[in-house]
């Protein structure tokens, strides 16, 4: 629910971002994003199309974006729903990517500061980073260790599982 006390700065910023996304679209129509309902501007849904020349090609992946009340000071959270089989996506669908980590905490201890969240980042920039993450997983900060190992040791099997999951998803 959108309470009257919702942070005005965060709301204005989100509305501006939404407006720009709808007006300009995304590069190559790689994704769309917007609030799920008009009553809550702090929960968005994003649809990402799988990047070309990757096993994810042809798939469409839905993710939920949850914005904090002090956005853009703090980053938002991104969660694939249904979860995605990918080295940098946790089993519950949460995305582990350095651009969504606040400069204060460094859970993985080896992210360079230049890749972290800063208040000038935006939904668009994060989604573009996630798309390039789909194409090139970062094995250094794995979220799904099994998937990391599979990606490293048995790429064919990894590709097969990803493609199978996309087919399964499309048939549903």
């Amino acid at each position: 629910m959108l309470s009257r006390n919702t942070n005005a700065t965060a709301l204005r910023r989100l509305m501006t971002e939404y407006k720009q996304l709808t007006a300009n679209g995304s590069p190559d129509d790689m994704f769309t994003a917007g609030p799920i309902s008009e009553s809550d501007f702090f929960t968005w849904e994003a649809l990402i199309s799988g990047p070309k020349d990757t096993p994810f090609e042809g798939g469409v992946f839905a993710a939920k974006l949850t914005f904090p009340s002090d956005y853009p000071l703090s980053p938002f959270k991104m969660r694939f729903d249904p979860p995605l089989f990918h080295p940098n996506v946790y089993a519950d669908g949460n995305v582990c990517i350095s651009i969504l980590h606040a400069p204060g905490d460094d859970p993985t201890m080896y992210e360079s500061a230049s890749e972290r969240w800063s208040p000038v980042q935006s939904v668009e920039k994060v989604l573009l980073s996630v798309i390039s993450m789909l194409a090139e997983p970062n094995l250094e900060s794995g979220a799904n260790i099994d998937c990391c190992k599979l990606y490293r040791d048995n790429r064919e099997e990894y590709n097969r599982i990803v493609k199978a999951s996309i087919r399964e998803q499309l048939e549903l």
């Binding site: 959108l2 309470s3 009257r4 006390n5 919702t6 942070n7 005005a8 700065t9 709301l11 204005r12 910023r13 509305m15 501006t16 971002e17 008009e38 009553s39 501007f41 904090p68 009340s69 002090d70 853009p72 000071l73 249904p82 979860p83 995605l84 089989f85 089993a91 606040a102 400069p103 204060g104 500061a113 230049s114 800063s118 208040p119 000038v120 799904n144 260790i145 099994d146 998937c147 190992k149 599979l150 099997e157 599982i161 999951s165 399964e168």
Partner: protein, 354 residues
């Protein structure tokens, strides 16, 4: 329907159709809050933000949000020139938007007009210029010179179609409009309005000084506050500091800390404003901020632990099963560090993901 806060509706501008004007407009907005700069300031690297936005960002990490070069609150400087430009731009903005719309309307008229001019030219060609006696042409030209009178600053001329006196500047629109005098009045009004608006952008009103609005404080009389060393302060000190600023002293230690911290950010940024707001106004802003933060904090712990357990029961059960099925193996062989990190077989992973 969403009932948007008023300030958002007010600052949510109608955009320019012209891409360049839109870019100019956006370049005067803060990259953090995406609203027009409120007390534009920059640090050593030169990237400019609102005073509040930059201070808040520096309180999280002492670096420029754009280029990530080290930045300190103490090295923040006002971007006075940008602020002056912004004031002028905001005065000119509405006018420019109106003009843009007028131009667009005119452009659609122009297209029609050029078509009618072509038909006039072909008419006169048919008649043939040589067939007309030279004397009449001269007489006509003389007549036209006489008829070209000055009324005010607009030159009058005779319409070749209806022979009425028409303002020269609008003669084309006059012919387009079928020589209708009513239509002329409207055209004159429109072009006069456009002229007025251009002069309001570049003429008199551009020189108009922005005078401080009622309730704003004269600049130069306010002093900035130092940040407290909140980690070593005791409740007693915090209360005294809040009292000195005339702020409420209720709430827990954390609440008092963040209240004072935010007050310092708000107040110092207010001092940086060209026309600082009154102390009472800033206090109101702090109150509002605190309410917003409190309401969003209250939202989060609403995730009930029991509900959470219920909701994820199947997941937990699955995990327990996984571990149980693994147990006999590890007890049979001595557990090696490698085995701890051993992945579940891929098909299992898939079932979890689904």
């Amino acid at each position: 329907m969403v009932d948007l806060p008023r300030n958002i509706q007010d600052t949510d501008p109608e955009d320019f159709a012209n891409e360049l004007l839109r870019k100019v407009d956006n370049s005067l907005k803060c990259p953090i809050c995406k609203a027009y700069f409120d007390a534009a300031m920059y640090s050593d690297c030169g990237h400019t933000f609102c005073a509040v936005c930059l201070r808040e960002s520096l309180s999280v990490k002492q670096e420029c949000p754009i280029c990530r070069k080290p930045a300190k609150e103490l090295s923040m400087k006002k971007n006075i020139m940008l602020e002056d430009t912004l004031i002028l731009w905001q005065q000119a903005r509405d006018t420019l938007l109106t003009l843009e719309r007028l131009e667009a309307a005119k452009a659609s008229k122009k297209r029609k007009r050029s078509a009618s001019i072509q038909s006039i030219e072909s008419d006169s060609n048919e008649a043939g210029p040589s067939s007309r006696p030279a004397s009449t042409t001269v007489k006509k030209m003389k007549k036209r010179a006489e008829s070209t009178q000055k009324t005010g600053d607009s030159t009058m001329t005779e319409c070749p179609m209806c022979q009425n006196l028409v303002v020269e500047a609008i003669i084309n629109q006059h012919i387009d409009g079928g020589c209708n005098p009513e239509n002329d009045k409207k055209i004159t009004r429109d072009s006069q309005r456009a002229k007025d608006q251009w002069s309001s952008v570049f003429g008199k009103s551009a020189k108009r000084k922005a005078t401080p609005v009622k309730g704003e404080t004269e600049p130069g009389t306010l002093e900035k506050l130092p940040r407290g060393s909140y980690d070593i302060l005791k409740d007693k000190d915090l209360r005294r500091m809040l009292k000195e600023e005339g702020l409420p002293t209720d709430g827990e230690t954390e609440a008092m800390k963040s209240r004072h911290k935010q007050w310092v950010i708000f107040w110092n940024s207010n001092v940086d404003r060209k026309f600082p707001k009154s102390r009472e106004t800033v206090k109101e802003e702090l109150k509002k901020w605190e309410r917003e933060m409190a309401s969003s904090r209250r939202k989060r712990p609403q995730v009930n632990a029991v509900e959470h357990l219920k909701h994820h029961k199947t997941d937990f059960d699955k995990l327990v099963q996984n571990v149980r099925s693994r147990k006999p193996k590890s007890s049979a062989a001595a557990p090696s560090p490698n085995e701890v990190a051993e992945p579940v077989a891929p098909p299992d992973v898939m079932s979890i993901d689904d």
